[in-house]
């Protein structure tokens, strides 16, 4: 992120609860649970009262949720509803490039790259409109997270998953 000197690393678990509901549990650096359900995002932190906001206030999040749920549910038509989809293959590795169809959302999220092997995604990279990038290393890749990650290193690691 431009505001920060070094990448901001959080670790935890992302769970699909079925339907349009996701739970994002963060263990490090501070414990926090975010639930996205019924159009509301609820954040709970230790020692703080939970706060929630409507998903519509954070369209990026909505897009992320859509892509995630569609991916996990294996629903290509839903994916195609909100994105133009490009698929690249190399043996059993694959790369999906998702570009939001809505021009308003595209201004905030330029592209989402999903890298995977076989039947499971391994890394998800979101390039935001303002130049910030967020990378989700999934499964075994997450355990390979270096102690002092750099942006370039992480991008390479994510893309290397292909």
């Amino acid at each position: 992120m431009r505001m920060l000197d070094k990448p901001l690393v959080v670790a935890g678990e992302l769970a699909w609860l079925g339907g349009d509901r996701l739970e994002r549990r963060v263990d490090r650096p501070a414990k926090e649970t975010s639930t996205i359900a019924d159009g509301e995002v609820t954040q709970e932190r230790e020692g703080k009262k939970p706060r929630s906001f409507s998903l519509k206030r954070a369209p990026q999040l909505k897009v992320l949720l859509d892509s995630f749920v569609a991916l996990l549910a294996g629903d290509p038509s839903r994916l195609a509803e909100s994105f133009t989809v490009a698929l690249g293959r190399d043996a059993d590795r694959w790369q999906l490039t998702l570009t939001p169809r809505d021009p308003g959302i595209a201004k905030q999220i330029a592209t989402i790259h999903v890298y995977g092997r076989g039947d499971r995604p391994r890394c998800l990279r979101m390039d935001e409109g303002d130049g910030d990038t967020s990378i989700d290393l999934l499964g075994e890749l997450a355990t390979a997270m270096p102690a002092t990650p750099t942006r370039e290193g992480l991008v390479a690691q994510c893309g290397g998953a292909m």
């Binding site: 501070a30 932190r45 954070a58």
Partner: protein, 771 residues
């Protein structure tokens, strides 16, 4: 027609046209309903009168956009809000848009003086470190994209706290960034600049709103639902006008048929209409001389009341003998006609004595109109009428009818059972005697009221019944008192005494509070040191928070915010609506929503030690109506006494005066009793209608009492009276079927009155001397 008569007709019509043209050019019609309310006497009533029209609650329009998909509705909501915010007819538009720009950019540094955050913490290293850690967590959370833009300037999120503070307590669900109801309509709250009970201003605002909506793209599938006091005012106005129009049209046709059947002459019909037209135009002209603005209701009621004057030409037409010139017959008729005119004027004088602006106008209009109609009937009309006329005494069936009436028993004891019946009915009548609730007369369909309650609930829009009033000698004093009330009100919300509140100090704290907050802000050196310490071990770029430091320093040095300066920001209008100068002191008006326990609120507010109290607008308006009625009743009593004297003097006999006044009085009370036994509570409009009916009844009694000894003349009297009764029943009987309570009240009362007056004045008249 002779040349002279043509000349008179041309001159008369010419002057009517000229008068009409002058009136049309000068007439300014006011629509503010408050001029029909009595002058307030207590401070609460004064406040009520201001509030009724101009209070923040009464200027609120609730808007729902329905139909089409959510995205379209949200886009329409945003488009509508954007265009209305540019329109000077609206002072506030809220649609749930998460509007970080609520605070003017120039006022942004003031967030540290407006927000209560620093009241219990200092802006030191510990506070900043905690805040920065939270922001770092935010950046790694789903909320990151929401907050990223504000971080360098506002790491403690003061703007967000202010926006949350200024958002209604119970806001509806937000979809696509705007409010949605549970039924899926996009919702907006719009405050108009014009007064709530001014149908003209509200109609204009609603037209602008609808025009703005229809100018938006993709609106075809959607439609607007409006609600709120202003919308009701406009609806009631349009509905009343619409019904009055078609009822008037039917009555006019009926009247034309009646006149043709009664006199078999087109000339009589046309010329018979001239005195009333003259009266109406003269009335409006005189009103223009006395008042700068004429009220729309005065005109509507005035034309109705002037219906009495139609009796004058009818009497002239009916009482003409065969071969007698119109001039001769009017001379014979004149003493009685003059008594009738004078007594009607005295009855209407009661309106003038009521001291209410609109009713004073009404009195001036009707009295002038009656005099003009009466005198033109006496001095102009006879010269215009054809030289010969059919004697109505020969109308088939009239003779037997008169004989039948004459053969009816005229028991002297008749008043006694009538009085007993009236007393019994009044004693046994169900429900309250008086209708104190003005809103009971508003003819709002039930579904409109249900829609209003539903939207109001969903929007958390303020209650229109209760207001919290704060008074102080200065504007800042009001703000200080309001600041003191804030914790008390929050406590009351926690105790569920009410759902939410809006105090002026929530938008602009008083100067002392601002000064205290300013004093707590650190200087540049202290802030830099604290920030450096807090940033230790954090990944934030070192220079990231320079805009924040600059804002804190700007806030430290800035001159304090006054309502005047604040007025230039988008929120200034909202504050201006809550803070008003009244005479030598300032009043703060706070709207409350979801009031459950008014007594607890009043008690808690009273214990704070500032000049604040809960105002119940319903109680104030009822006390106002009760005071108003007492005044009108006194005026009516005085008019009745004056009438007694006038009639006695004119007839030069107490016995004859009794024959005229007794049936009129009894019939008036009979109407009252019948309406009461039917369960109708008596409102001001019933009183006005009773006075009108009494005026008509007085005429019947006067003419029936006249003992001419000539059977033909008696038949003419009967003919004239029957024509008058039928025409009155035609007009007011139609009104009685109206769906609008006000029109129904007037119609039913006058129709019943005319019937009772007619019957009683015949039964109580002295027996016609038999030939």
């Amino acid at each position: 027609m002779t040349k002279v008569r043509v000349g008179i007709l041309v001159v008369w019509l010419g002057s009517l046209v000229l008068l009409g043209w002058m009136v049309a050019a000068q007439l300014k019609i006011s629509t503010d309903l408050r001029s029909f309310m009595p002058a307030p006497t207590t401070p609460d009533q004064q406040l009520l009168m201001d509030q009724v029209g101009e209070g923040p609650g009464s200027r609120l329009l609730l808007v729902a956009i329905d139909g089409g998909n959510d995205t379209d509705k949200a886009a329409l909501s945003r488009g509508l809000a954007a265009s209305l915010r540019k329109d000077p007819a609206f002072t506030q538009v809220v649609n749930g848009d998460f509007d970080m720009g609520m605070l003017d950019a120039g006022l942004l540094p003031y967030r540290y003086l407006l927000s209560p955050t620093l009241d219990d913490t200092a802006m030191d290293e510990a506070f900043l470190a905690d805040q920065l850690q939270q922001r770092l967590d935010d950046l790694g959370s789903p909320a990151a994209t929401l907050l990223k833009g504000w971080l360098p300037r506002d790491p403690t999120l003061e703007v967000l706290k202010l926006v949350e503070r200024w958002t209604p307590a119970h806001s509806p669900e937000v979809r696509d960034g705007v409010w949605f109801s549970s039924r899926g309509e996009a919702l907006l709250l719009v405050q108009t600049r014009g007064a709530g009970f001014d149908p003209g201003a509200q109609g204009d605002a609603i037209d602008r709103l609808r025009t703005a909506f229809s100018a938006l793209p993709h609106n075809a599938a959607s439609h607007l639902t409006l609600s709120g006091p202003g919308f009701f005012t406009v609806t009631v106005n349009a509905q009343t006008r619409h019904e009055a129009d078609w009822i008037g049209a039917i009555s006019t046709v009926g009247f034309v048929v009646l006149m043709l059947a009664a006199y078999r002459s087109f000339a009589s019909l046309i010329f018979g209409a001239l005195p009333v037209a003259t009266g109406a135009l003269a009335g409006v002209t005189v009103m223009l001389l006395f008042f700068t603005e004429v009220h729309g209701i005065t005109l509507a009621f005035g034309f109705t009341l002037l219906g009495v004057a139609q009796e004058y030409p009818i009497r002239l037409l009916s009482h003409r003998r065969a071969g007698e010139s119109a001039v001769a017959s009017v001379r014979g008729l004149w003493p009685l006609l003059l008594t009738a005119i004078a007594s009607a004027c005295i009855a209407y004088l009661a309106f003038y004595a009521s001291g209410v602006g609109g009713l004073k106008q009404l009195a001036v209009f009707t009295i002038t109109g009656l005099l003009a109609a009466g005198f033109s009937t006496r001095y102009v009309l006879p010269y215009l009428l054809p030289a010969t006329a059919r004697d109505v005494a020969d109308t088939p069936g009239l003779g037997p009818f008169r004989q039948w009436l004459d053969s009816l028993p005229r028991p002297r004891w008749l008043p006694l059972p009538v009085i007993l019946a009236v007393a019994a009915m009044l004693a046994l009548a169900p429900g309250p005697f008086w209708q104190n609730d003005l809103s009971a007369l508003t003819p709002l369909p039930r579904d409109l009221l249900a829609t209003d309650a539903r939207l109001r609930g969903e929007l958390g829009a303020p209650d229109v019944r209760y207001l919290l009033i704060v008074q102080a000698p200065t504007a800042d004093g009001v703000l200080a008192a309001s600041t003191a009330l804030e914790p008390v009100m929050s406590n009351l919300v926690a105790k569920k005494a009410l759902d939410g509140f809006d105090l002026p100090s929530m938008y602009l704290p008083d100067l002392a509070t601002q000064r205290a907050r300013q004093a707590r802000l650190p200087d540049r050196l202290a802030l830099d040191t604290a920030l450096d310490g807090a940033l230790q071990g954090m990944p934030f770029r070192k220079d990231l928070f320079a805009p924040f430091v600059a804002d804190v320093q700007a806030a430290r040095a800035a001159p304090l915010l006054t309502p005047d300066v604040f007025a230039r920001s988008p929120l200034g209008q909202r504050l201006a609506a809550m803070l008003a100068r009244r005479g030598d002191h300032w009043v703060g008006l706070s709207t409350l929503s979801g009031v459950h326990d008014p007594a607890a609120i009043d008690h808690a507010v009273g214990a704070v030690g500032v000049d604040a109290r809960l105002l119940d607008l319903k109680v104030s308006s009822e006390s106002l109506v009760a005071a108003y009625r007492t005044r009108i009743l006194h005026a009516v009593l005085a008019a009745a006494a004056l009438l007694l004297v006038t009639i006695t003097l004119a007839l030069r006999s107490v016995r004859r005066a009794w024959h005229v006044l007794a049936p009129m009085t009894l019939a008036t009370f009979l109407v009252l009793a019948v309406e009461r036994i039917a369960g109708i509570p008596i409102s001001l409009f019933h009183l006005v209608a009773l006075i009108l009916a009494a005026g008509l009844g007085l005429h019947y009694a006067l003419f029936f009492e006249r003992d001419t000894g000539d059977p033909a003349e008696q038949r003419r009297t009967l003919h004239a009276t029957v024509v008058c009764v039928i025409s009155a029943l035609l007009v007011f009987g139609m009104l009685a079927w109206s769906s609008i309570p006000v029109l129904r009240a007037i119609g039913l009362t006058v129709a019943l009155g005319v019937a009772f007056h007619f019957c009683l004045s015949i039964l109580m008249a002295p027996h016609a001397r038999q030939e």
